[in-house]
């Protein structure tokens, strides 16, 4: 029963305390909703979970061993979808997704790129240079990475903005499929994807007046 959890996480960004002593736990097959007003640190928490950011104190554990012990292993277990789509206009749709698949996994699962594009209904555009894609198509191409290669933990930062309604349906189906085969998802979104599992309300952790006394308070 793999689980990904964070204990007493504190994050200070340029002198401002984003959140302090935050705990969360995601176990297999669960979705964690990050709720909270803008600027309450949803994106920061997701980047912290992905390992891009380091917490000022507190620890992130995967089956209660610290993720920073073996970062390479942890990175191979994570898919991170941020605000920006990481798509090169000069490359075609297929080349874009092929590159990100190669970056994480060996290429033996060639067929999975076609299925991933089919899942996100981009298969007819595979030879189109990415500069002609609309914002929604770019976001779907970015999301197609999720199902192209398997990674147990999905970290999705506002995946639904610039997506039309049936794309949102495609995404929620992909998430529930991922849950079925034992995946974990942490998602920050304002769209209700009727996948309510457990909700982490970030606003509880931001207005704690007592800043940590440590040297990082400055």
């Amino acid at each position: 029963m793999t689980s990904f959890s964070g204990k007493k996480l504190t994050c200070v960004r340029s002198g401002r305390i984003v959140f302090t002593s935050l705990n969360f736990m995601i176990s297999q097959g669960e979705v964690l909703y990050l709720k909270g007003p803008n600027g309450s640190g949803k994106s920061t928490l997701l980047r912290l979970m992905a390992g891009i950011l380091r917490p000022s104190n507190g620890a992130l554990t995967w089956n209660n061993n610290d993720i920073h012990d073996d970062e390479g292993l942890f990175r191979s277990r994570v898919h991170y979808v941020g605000h920006q789509d990481a798509i090169k206009a000069g490359l075609t749709v297929e080349e874009n997704i092929r590159f990100w698949v190669e970056m994480n996994y060996c290429m033996k699962e060639k067929y999975s790129i076609q299925t991933a594009l089919k899942v996100f209904s981009l298969d007819n555009l595979s030879t189109l240079p990415a500069r002609f894609l609309s914002a929604g198509q770019r976001k779907r191409l970015n999301l197609a990475r999720l199902s192209a290669t398997y990674a147990p933990l999905w970290l999705l930062d506002e995946p639904t903005n610039s997506l039309d309604s049936d794309s949102v349906r495609i995404l929620s189906r992909a998430i529930s499929d991922h849950q079925q085969n034992g995946g974990m998802v942490a998602i920050a979104t304002h769209e209700d994807l009727d996948l309510k599992d457990n909700v982490l309300n970030l606003s509880e952790f931001t207005n704690l007046r007592a800043p940590p006394q440590g040297y990082n308070a400055w």
């Binding site: 390992g51 891009i52 191979s76 941020g82």
Partner: protein, 226 residues
């Protein structure tokens, strides 16, 4: 099971070269800048062959330096702007090797064309014939070091205001040793003194840069993504 590292390394290089070919204009721009700077020096100093041949090595090296430095900020800036930097940090290949791959492909698209065109410019500046071979060897050893050291500056200025000018203030002092040994190698060849010592020094600088620069650039990229 993360991808085999060599495959991932090659796929980064392939993507960079693919992008460079798709936007073919960039490397031509660099080479034309290199030509123009040399011609500007020439017009400034005057066509008098005596003077030209003595300062030809210096002119070529300074122009090569400026061209490499000019092309540096396109190394990480596109990835920083479109969000690829986060995914590169999260890829299975360590960031240091990804940076090395990017620097190698950057050298292929900018340093290499400079080496190819430099004999023509040596001809313009009527450099002595013994100098040609040493100039090529020195540039082959020197331009990768320029790309490596320049990559640190390119990673440091991500997200800064006025990054173009800032890059030159940061990197040019670090380029000075490379230029000094490059020029002294060619001068030694012209005054038929053995040019082995400066070339060996260039080789030493290249090896140290090969080890230290990817590590420093990766550290700079990681803190840029924070």
């Amino acid at each position: 099971m993360p991808g085999k590292p060599l495959q991932v390394f090659i796929s980064v290089i392939r993507r960079e070269l693919l992008l460079a070919i798709r936007h073919g204009a960039d490397s031509c721009m660099i080479v034309s800048f290199f030509l123009i700077v040399v011609i500007l020096f020439l017009l400034g100093v005057g066509p008098e062959p005596g003077i030209l041949s003595r300062i030809s090595a210096g002119i070529i090296w300074v122009s090569a330096l400026l061209s490499v430095m000019l092309s540096m900020d396109r190394l990480f800036q596109p990835d920083y702007e479109d969000g690829s930097l986060d995914l590169l940090i999260l890829s299975s290949l360590p960031l240091e090797l990804i940076v090395l791959a990017k620097i190698f492909s950057h050298w292929l698209t900018t340093g290499f064309p400079l080496i190819i065109i430099s004999p023509l410019l040596a001809l313009f500046l009527n450099m002595g014939t013994p100098g040609y071979s040493t100039l090529l060897i020195a540039l082959v050893l020197g331009t990768p070091t320029l790309s490596l050291v320049g990559a640190i500056g390119a990673a440091l200025i991500l997200g800064a205001r006025r990054s173009g000018v800032l890059l030159s203030v940061l990197i040019l002092p670090l380029f000075i040793p490379i230029m000094i040994f490059g020029v002294s190698a060619v001068d030694a060849a012209l005054t038929n003194v053995s040019s082995k010592p400066p070339l060996l020094m260039l080789g030493a600088l290249l090896l140290t840069a090969l080890v230290l620069c990817p590590w420093a650039s990766a550290a700079a990229l990681r803190q840029a993504a924070e």
